[in-house]
Symmetry: C3
Subunit: 425 residues, 3 copies
Amino acid sequence: MNVTQRLEVMFDELWPIGRSITGSGYRQSLDILSSVMPTDRLVFKTGLKVFDWLIPKEWIVRDAYLIDPNGKKRAEYKVNNLHLIGYSVPFSGRMGLAQLRPQIHSLPGQPDAIPYLTTYYRENWGFCMSDRELQSLPEGEYQVCIDTELVDGHLEIGEAVIKGKSDREVLFSTYLCHPSMANNELSGPLLASFLYERISEMRNLHYTYRFVVQPETIGSIAYLSKRGDWLKEKLDAGFVITCVGDAGLFTYKSSRRGNALCDRVAKLILRDIGEHRLEAFAPFGSDERQYCSPGFNLPVGSLMRTMYGRFPEYHTSLDDKLFISFDAMTKALEAYLKIVSALEGNWVWKTNFPFCEPQLGKRGLYPTLGAQKQRERKVEALMWILNLADGKSDLLEIAERSGCEVEMLISVASEAEVAGLISKI
Amino acid sequence: MNVTQRLEVMFDELWPIGRSITGSGYRQSLDILSSVMPTDRLVFKTGLKVFDWLIPKEWIVRDAYLIDPNGKKRAEYKVNNLHLIGYSVPFSGRMGLAQLRPQIHSLPGQPDAIPYLTTYYRENWGFCMSDRELQSLPEGEYQVCIDTELVDGHLEIGEAVIKGKSDREVLFSTYLCHPSMANNELSGPLLASFLYERISEMRNLHYTYRFVVQPETIGSIAYLSKRGDWLKEKLDAGFVITCVGDAGLFTYKSSRRGNALCDRVAKLILRDIGEHRLEAFAPFGSDERQYCSPGFNLPVGSLMRTMYGRFPEYHTSLDDKLFISFDAMTKALEAYLKIVSALEGNWVWKTNFPFCEPQLGKRGLYPTLGAQKQRERKVEALMWILNLADGKSDLLEIAERSGCEVEMLISVASEAEVAGLISKI
Amino acid sequence: MNVTQRLEVMFDELWPIGRSITGSGYRQSLDILSSVMPTDRLVFKTGLKVFDWLIPKEWIVRDAYLIDPNGKKRAEYKVNNLHLIGYSVPFSGRMGLAQLRPQIHSLPGQPDAIPYLTTYYRENWGFCMSDRELQSLPEGEYQVCIDTELVDGHLEIGEAVIKGKSDREVLFSTYLCHPSMANNELSGPLLASFLYERISEMRNLHYTYRFVVQPETIGSIAYLSKRGDWLKEKLDAGFVITCVGDAGLFTYKSSRRGNALCDRVAKLILRDIGEHRLEAFAPFGSDERQYCSPGFNLPVGSLMRTMYGRFPEYHTSLDDKLFISFDAMTKALEAYLKIVSALEGNWVWKTNFPFCEPQLGKRGLYPTLGAQKQRERKVEALMWILNLADGKSDLLEIAERSGCEVEMLISVASEAEVAGLISKI
């Protein structure tokens, strides 16, 4: 099976599981991902203080549904796990529709979509259903069954590190707490896992690569309470992987710093790939909110396809397998691999011939038939490298200034080193 | 009466007075303004050297007109004070039209407009009339009567200061030397006076506010000869108030520095208001020429509606009450008040939770029903503040980067302080 | 004769000569130019190492042609010196068309153009002809005659220096190695020669002006081996003069530094002239490749009309007298002279009246009839100078910020100095 097919197989396995920020569904999902990306587990006990937050109780769902006056089951959790508001407390009782109505949520503007809602930090319960179903509910008495439990337990984070020669680090962070939604979120942990697999096959890595799979927000806060100081010292570039499964244009959201290494490399790779969107940093969104909080201010951006909140299927039951494409996800994986290659090849070069050009012709690197009207792009890339290899600019700066593709520059720089024209700093 | 009505009443009172850079009309106008903005008077004697200039003599006008060969009075000062060139020396005599002609000025491109001209610094005399009238003058002998006098006296400047807790200052400067013209210039001193009234009603002001009403150019030169060193040390932001009565878009002309506090705050307030124009600094225009001379280089810009020189009525008899709108003037007053609020609220904030976000939900500052598709703008403003309150950026920087309205940021920052999330530096 | 006519006369004299990077044609051309710009000759022996390069042998061409199976002479050097690839080694023999074919070069996309090719640094031979002729060559046996010789000799560079009061230098560099081509290249040395003549007639020059005429690439490398250290210390601005004869828009290609004095002055002069093109530095092109190699990084740009490579006639027989215009070349000469004037007038001025404006009226520099609706551009220029003459900004900065023409600013600054308003730093 190729990667595209393997992504789909693993997607199908993960899809039906009822995940939340804690609990067995979350753990089971982490185990499935571990077949490709084996992760260590960081464990945080219920009630532990992490910065301004407390690790919540674990949430157990056994069953949840409504029975309408005609005896018909409605909003059944086992049919679609979006029907139950995440972290709903247990409840059992009978009530009229008017009384029940405020506990049921829908999206009038998207009448066929079941919205996704949670109530992690306030004891509450409720159901979500399509507005079409909500409008059609018969009057009368309803039976409400929410067979859930909130228990002391723990929150888990999966972590995997691939050691390179340097202790400078690159972070790939993704989250795994949403129930059955495809682009936001299964695409993230799926891509991260196969990215891990590919990087772990590479030899002679310069950077150390750190992968984190966690529940959104509370996960990254807990993670930073343990690894924040380390990352502040060691992290050169980081990326939140999310929304990488739809067929839209690539979007890069910058880190708070705006021109950190993560930002420079992602913008160049997207430039080389073609049409794309750039988003300035904003303190909304996903775990970059925590990574980029002012005390950490880590160099963490996010390379997505269509950004969260920008596609109508976002946070609804319409964000399903039909909405995404495993080809698109594979192409996003390739984009992330290009970023890795660019980071690995981002040396600071110094020309060995600073005064006038070296004679390329006698080294077989320049056409011997002079004055030709066309130049090869490869020769152009070499001339840019020789001109800009000042011992201070890194290769990404050469790519920025020259407009040459990063990939071409890395390969030409390597040839130029073999030819004795330039040296690594 | 509301402010709009009061502006009109005072306008009607000021309109007919024959003002110049000195003299009784100027003083009378200053007295009228003092009913709303009581000013101290700075007095400069005729002949006093102020930098490279000399305070001129006072100009007294008793009467001025022509009598045409048919005995008809023409260009009578008492009918329209623009008919007489400002500072015309006394003259009485008879002459043919050919001889008189060079002393009469008109605007052939605006045949119904009487132009506004002055001859402050060279002894000369002349009349202005509409080109239509000029073209219709009969041949023959004219009687010229200019009953004026130039006497030793003094030049006066009105000054009012509202003390705040800090000795850092904000300057509002306007000029009062033009005869009957409405947008340029009565709108300026009118707005300044009511701005003074409004600020003087405010409690707990941080900044000290300084208001200056003076004859243009020679006034600001004289003023700077007295207060220049003080302003150089104390001034944080200043504005020349002029051309604020027409219905055109707001225009902000930057200070010479280009990114001083006056520039930043005015640009943000206009951004929040909506469509507007920005003008780079140029050493032409009004008293900003003196405030922004290189030795002072004060942070003084100018918030106008349509800029001087950009409307055809400028410096002609067409700049009259019909041309302006007291509603527009009131809206301009409100824009200046927004600037004051923004300056007063421009604290440097520091988050008390630099590492990861504080948990807003438990403080009632975040919706407890998570994952909703829409976010309130107020919550966004709070998240921006928490992310950017680094103890170095002022609130205007947060407004610049976030795109949030200054007014909203100030109010949300205040709530966040009460909630213990951020502190003033 | 005016300059335009003299340019044409000299062009006609230079046109037929078979030039290369060495040899008698090159020397003869340098001698012709010396009638207007007398140059010293820097001489480099064959085999001498200059940085990474060796000075090549001299190339002597006595005759070269093909004889086709019908006895017709083809690709005869004496008819068009582009027919023979530059630096072709001697060859004499007979061969079939199939065997000869790879040695003949044409441009299928431009069927009537003979391409220009060289083989300086690899022993080889070949012919160039129009694709139309190539396609019409009859099958059969061809006689090949290349009566050339490669001998030990030397490479020559012409150099002329006009001493100014300062030892800070301005460089004009051009190249003279192409056979009969008009825009690229005779326009360059022609313009340079007459520019030399004009500058040498000027009195009280501030800058020292250095002119260099050399074979492209190897010439500038040899030149820099001798003068590189000196130029690194003394050069303030330099220009490669090439492609200045066509009727296209002016184009300025920046130096590697991007905002050096050469770049600032050229951009301003082109702004004042009108529509034009700006090109960022790229390490392709002409001798700026060597001047801007990272070890030298000299402030050298290039003011052209249509840039090399951007016109279809480039490096073909179509780049001939019909393609260029001596009027256009004269206008380019004038643009270069404007650059010289701007450099000579680029003083740092300091106002003698830093506090408020000096009173211009009493000095006859301002209209005494005040409040007029129109201002003269000259008065505006004076007000800009007074406002920006801070003793730090040079005149070009004042031109950049004010938008006033450099020429006007220089002349107004000079008047202002006479009036005692400003002083040179």
